[in-house]
Amino acid sequence: MKKLVAMAMGLALVFTGSTAAMAAVFGNGTPTVYIGYGAGGGTDTAVRPVVAEMANYLGENINCVNMEGANSAVACDYVLEQPHDGYSMFATGTGGFSSYPIYNYSESSWQDWISFHPYSGPAVVFANKDSGVATTEDLFNYLAEGNSFGIGAYGNGPHTQFEAICAAKGVAAPAYSVFGSCADAAVGCIAGDVMVGAGSLSSVIDYLNGDMLVPIFVTCADPFEFTGIGVTTPSVTTEVEGTENIPNLNETWPIMIPRDTPQEIVDALVEAFNAAIETDAVKDFAAEKGFNIIGLTGEEADKFMSYSISGYSWTLFNAGLGEGNPADYGIPTLEEYDWETVKTTCEAYQ
């Protein structure tokens, strides 16, 4: 009976949008995380367990609302337009966020946000089982014939990393087929819409463990074992020369709040976040999905964000994609990147 009563109360809270007056952190309503991508997608799935555990820790409900569009920039700008009181949070993927300056989606940059990164995840390049593509060499031979390559979106992690891999190998980037999400790219590959593609490992790991696709390589530093099929897939760093830097560009899925949010809210969220990533539920979820728990907050998180933006935006710019020039935004190339210099561009570090 207690459970029913608790659930009824919880539901009442959700639909009335009010929290108990005794609430410690969010006393004036229910906070909401605006997820910049669609319901059930890779970012949505990655963020929800952490938000649920944070809510558990705080003893308060946190809503998740999906607000997709323009590689998550719609949600980004929306949250920035709301009062910076911690009640509106934003969740995205660093790949999508880093592409804003190139595609002119939003003027927002890492300086505007405080971010919490629960885990990072590599990309995986895969092939249809009937494609005859089983190795990295097969893959590049197949692409050299002019065949298309499936990706979730231009500017996302797997796409940008594959652009960098092609540049390192000295081959032209392939003709891309864009499927809308990494999971859709994998489904398109299973269905035979394309015979090869790339996606974030977390979004496609079930298809690979289920023996529905052939893994070619992963973009983490070490080989990755697909336990469902008992196959260990090599790291790109051993497959393509000059790709040692690629694992540093692995995507993360941060929860973000505007930088000028009141400090007591920030502190409470950091505490809840740190507690969340220590729970068995989040650890098990990360293990199932091939995530590495990194738990970045504070200056470490800022450094990671600014580094990702440099890597992603310059890779896309060099590939001739988008209209914006990272130099116009003062974004250094990875060769020029120096955190001590970069952080002087942020007021919080003045």
Binding site: G188, D193, Y207
Partner: protein, 500 residues
Amino acid sequence: MGGILKQFSLLAVAAGGVFEGWNLLIVAGAVLLGLVVGAIPGLTGTMALALLINLTYTLPSDQAVAFMLGVYVGAVSGGLFSAIMLNIPGTPNAAATALDGYPLAKKGKGGKALFGGVLASCLGTILSCVIMMIATPFLSSIALKFGKWEMFLLAIFGITICGNLSVDCSPLKGWLAGFMGFFVALIGVESMYNSGRFVFISQLRSGVELIPALIGLFGIAEVLTVLQDRTPFEVNSDMGTILPNKEEFRALMKPLLRSTLIGCGIGAIPGAGEDIAAWLSYSTGKSSSKNKEEFGKGSFEGLACSETANNACIPGAMIPMLTLAIPGSTQAAMFLAALNLHGIQPGPMLTVKSPSFMYTVGLTLMVAAIVMLGLALVLTKPMVKILQINRKLLMPIIVTLTVVGAYASRTNLFDVKLMLVFGVIGFILRKLNFPLAPLTLGLILGGTADINFRQSLTMSGSVLTRVVGDILIVVVLYSLISGTIKTVKSTKEELASAKK
């Protein structure tokens, strides 16, 4: 034989869990909640699931599954209440239901329409569950034959039936309204190359949101229509029984099998969904019915076409989700996310790791459908009393609900403005005797057709060698040619009668 026995033992294991007291109570509560959410214009099952996932986090996984599926079933059906009583579909998948449901209410058969709609929903769910439990391996492999090209053709087929959805007006108007919806669906930053199309203001970057547009087209347009009527319709007489008579019952049962198959099949196709299933079923039902002239004027058969299919879509959407981890609809995608939260990993490994889970889902859906029917028996009579209230008095409440619904979909005030704009458009179109159903269909399918067409253009290899695609091309051509002939014929008749 051993295999069949094993399946029966798995079914028994699943039944043990589903019929446990707590789970049944949770399903009942969740169905009721889903019905309420679905009945409020703008609040959809997807939204309810998105909000409630985190609340189920602390529950044991079997109770969480029971809760989520109960909400899912309830929310898909709940839309019929406002569609029938107010001519405002509570959810996009109930838009086709309003076509016959509302005229039935106007005839004083609102109670029968409500109960009949829920009965059709219940039977559609149960039959589709049976199909799901028997034919999952076969259907999931067929679903995978639907690539981008096939999805494009399916969407185009949907748009070609626009002429067929015109009631009391020329099919040409249906086509025009359909293409208007198609055009509106293209507004926004497209997701392939991220180019803006008709984005004159920044809020339109994510396009025209379907839910506020539909609430405006149906809800606000209805309010404006009622307010300018001197004597809006009102049912004063005793509503009598809510149980359909023999003839009405027969009409409700007529499309059961066909609509279930359409719903289950469409549900199994990744990226389709309940709204497409309802429209295709309605159009197919109208084309093949002996009483097609009654469609759109208060036909129990038409009502059943839409309601059976949208609910049959739920088990259909579970087929690729459970076996391939590919959700067949947005709501199934939310359910997949919820399962992930609870450590259940659908996909090819599910039959190894949790072999009875598919039966748990099937049986839970069946229980939810039966509970829903029971609730309908209790709730219909009091709800029908709404029809007896002077509609001019109802309108302020409806306007409040529509504003809440439009705002709640993305908690964005711009969506309320969008709803008002579409309300005015809907009102003008009604005055000009343009049907709103094709416009809705264009809105729903435009984006699907556009993105899938452009995606299929980037694929290497010829799309014309794909068997399912070739079959769909023939179907589209047939629909296009027969629709054109019908349009030309009816335009000539109209011209002739105008001359007379």
